[in-house]
């Protein structure tokens, strides 16, 4: 326990009144990163679990790992590199700069704000920082990643009061910023998904020609071009299993997003607006990734159980609606989740009001 002793030894320097007291938040952030905090709640009836936000966030990061590893391998494979390991190494080197940039920019802003406000450092960025590079197309310039991250953290999160207070999912906000600000670099024919090669993603092919050159099986396992983390539905489901097993993410939201997407997919197929099976929607693009990692964000989704069903269903339904009806935005998942983020408090409000009205009626009947 040499490290523990060392941390205890330097603790006074960083505490209130110490020489480096102004770095209090930073020190606290690193200490709880290394060790479970030993704070005891003295008043109020709060139940304190050793699973603080930091550990919850680490579970989400672990759940993201399969999708990320597969994404890296896929990049190398699409670049035409033989063998699993060399392909993975190639993709790893392609993706690493974006991941590093996203973490460095985002964490520095988080640290700066925490110091300024004398808060503890919020751990939410551990997940956001990994989500941002995963939802960006591979090969997007680093400065776009840096700028979008800064925008998402400052405008999307810090102005609302930091982690837990944000209205919109910061990672999606970063992607939305990049998408609208630098459209040519982010989507369309010009995006090169692998060294020198350009081409439309499966989603764009479906939107324009109603078919794609890959089979549904390829799309499920993830052998299609797309953003780093979104291609393999199988790897994402592996992460989903971990999230559901640990109870970090809400199964209601996940399930209802898929139900909503399928329902609208079948609807559009039935009326003849699309010419491919409804389940394609769940396999291509960011649908599965959004459903598992983005829509279930506990801060920005609906809080009530009934609200979660409505919220999830609308996310899935709107995503398919935007994909099919609006050809300018082949990827509807981002817009639909952001839109439902804005509506989530309203949904909760009506669910709660309805419950109150129901209970009141019950009292009347008893009397």
């Amino acid at each position: 326990m040499g490290l523990r002793k060392f941390v205890d030894k330097i603790k006074p320097t960083f505490s209130e009144g110490g020489k480096l007291g102004f770095l209090h938040s930073t020190f606290e952030g690193f200490e709880t990163f290394l060790y479970v905090p030993n704070t005891v709640t003295k008043k109020g009836a709060h139940i304190r679990d050793c699973n603080d936000i930091k550990r919850v966030m680490i579970v989400v990061v672990l759940a993201l790992v399969p999708a990320m590893l597969f994404g890296m391998y896929n990049v190398g494979r699409l670049a035409g590199i033989e063998g699993v390991l060399p392909a993975f190494w190639y993709g790893f080197l392609e993706a690493l700069p974006n991941i590093v940039v996203s973490y460095v920019v985002g964490l520095s802003i988080e640290f700066a704000f925490a110091q300024k406000r004398k808060h503890e450092i919020n751990e939410g960025f551990l997940v956001t920082g990994l989500l941002i590079p995963l939802v960006m197309p591979i090969g997007v310039p680093c400065w776009i990643v840096a700028l979008s991250t800064a925008f998402a953290v400052i405008i999307g999160k810090e102005v609302f009061g930091g982690t837990g207070m944000n209205v919109f999912n910061p990672a999606l906000l970063a992607r939305a910023f990049a998408f609208f600000a630098y459209t040519p670099q982010m989507s369309g024919e010009a995006v090169w998904y692998a060294d020198g090669k350009t081409g439309a993603t499966a989603l764009e092919q479906l939107a324009t020609t109603n078919q794609m050159e890959w089979s549904a099986m390829d799309a499920f396992w993830g052998f299609i071009p797309g953003s780093l983390g979104e291609t393999s539905t199988a790897a994402i489901l592996l992460g989903a299993a971990l999230l559901l097993f640990t109870g970090v993410a809400s199964w209601r939201i996940m399930l209802s997003v898929f139900v909503g997407g399928l329902a609208f997919g079948y609807l559009f197929d039935a009326v003849g607006m699309t010419d491919y099976p409804a389940y394609y929607h769940l396999l291509v693009g960011g649908f599965a990734f959004g459903a598992v990692f983005m829509a279930t964000d506990p801060v920005t989704s609906a809080q009530t159980n009934c609200g979660k069903w409505i919220y999830g269903f609308m996310v899935g339904a709107l995503a398919v609606l935007i994909r099919v009806v609006n050809p300018a935005y082949p990827e509807g998942m981002m817009l639909s989740i952001l839109f439902m983020n804005a509506l989530a408090p309203l949904i909760d409000y009506f669910v709660v009001e309805r419950n109150i009205a129901r209970r009141k009626k019950l009292i009347k009947n008893v009397k």
Partner: protein, 200 residues
């Protein structure tokens, strides 16, 4: 109130856009480029100043029951004068501003100053108040347009500024939501300087 205070107050501490949150609609619409924003700011200053002056001259003769309709006639006349002037001498800018020149009539700042100030003060004071409020509005418009044109198109008044350094245009700046965010940031800075404006 002292005349100098009367003039400086609407420019900063009681700015119509960032403190009273008036005139936001046009601030989002005409701030893509500096030139239309500049012209729009001057037009509003003109309308605001002279509607204040005329209503202050008329204030004793107008029964309060019909004052709104009289105000509208005065403001609408001034707006038509501005509109015709722009069409005659600055046709391109007039095209870019399109309906927003006509919509000055509905700009809350103009009517607000007439109601709140001109009807109860002397003509010269009212005129100064109108000019100051118009300039307060124009200042914010130009500030927003400066950032939007600089980062959205890489130019200032149409001249290349950033493009020669290999700057990639940020097209989000050209969308109205970004104008709202920039105004929000200006309010943020303004309130961190003027701490008494912060809501508890």
């Amino acid at each position: 109130m002292k005349l100098s205070k009367n003039f400086t107050n609407p420019l900063a501490a009681n700015n119509p856009v960032i403190v009273q949150i008036l005139g936001i609609c046009s601030a989002l619409a005409v701030t893509v480029k500096l030139e239309p924003a500049f012209v729009m700011g001057l037009s509003v200053t003109f309308v605001c100043a002279f509607s204040n002056l005329f209503m202050s001259l008329l204030r004793k003769g107008v029964p309060s029951r019909i004052r709104i309709i009289v105000q509208l006639v005065v403001i609408a006349t001034l707006v038509i004068v501005v509109d015709q002037f722009l069409r005659a001498y600055m046709y391109d800018v007039s095209k870019q501003l399109s309906v927003y020149v006509g919509l000055i009539i509905t700009n809350c700042i103009v009517m607000g100053r007439v109601e709140a100030f001109a009807l109860g003060n002397k003509p010269w004071d009212s005129f100064v108040d109108g000019v100051a409020n118009g300039l307060g509005y124009a200042f914010i418009l130009v500030l927003v347009a400066f950032f939007r044109e600089l980062f959205g198109s890489g130019t200032l008044f149409g001249f290349d500024v950033l493009a020669r350094f290999g700057y990639v245009n940020n097209s989000l700046m050209l969308f109205p939501p970004m104008a709202l965010i920039i105004i929000g940031c200006i309010i943020w800075v303004h309130r961190s300087i003027n701490k008494d404006l912060q809501e508890k």
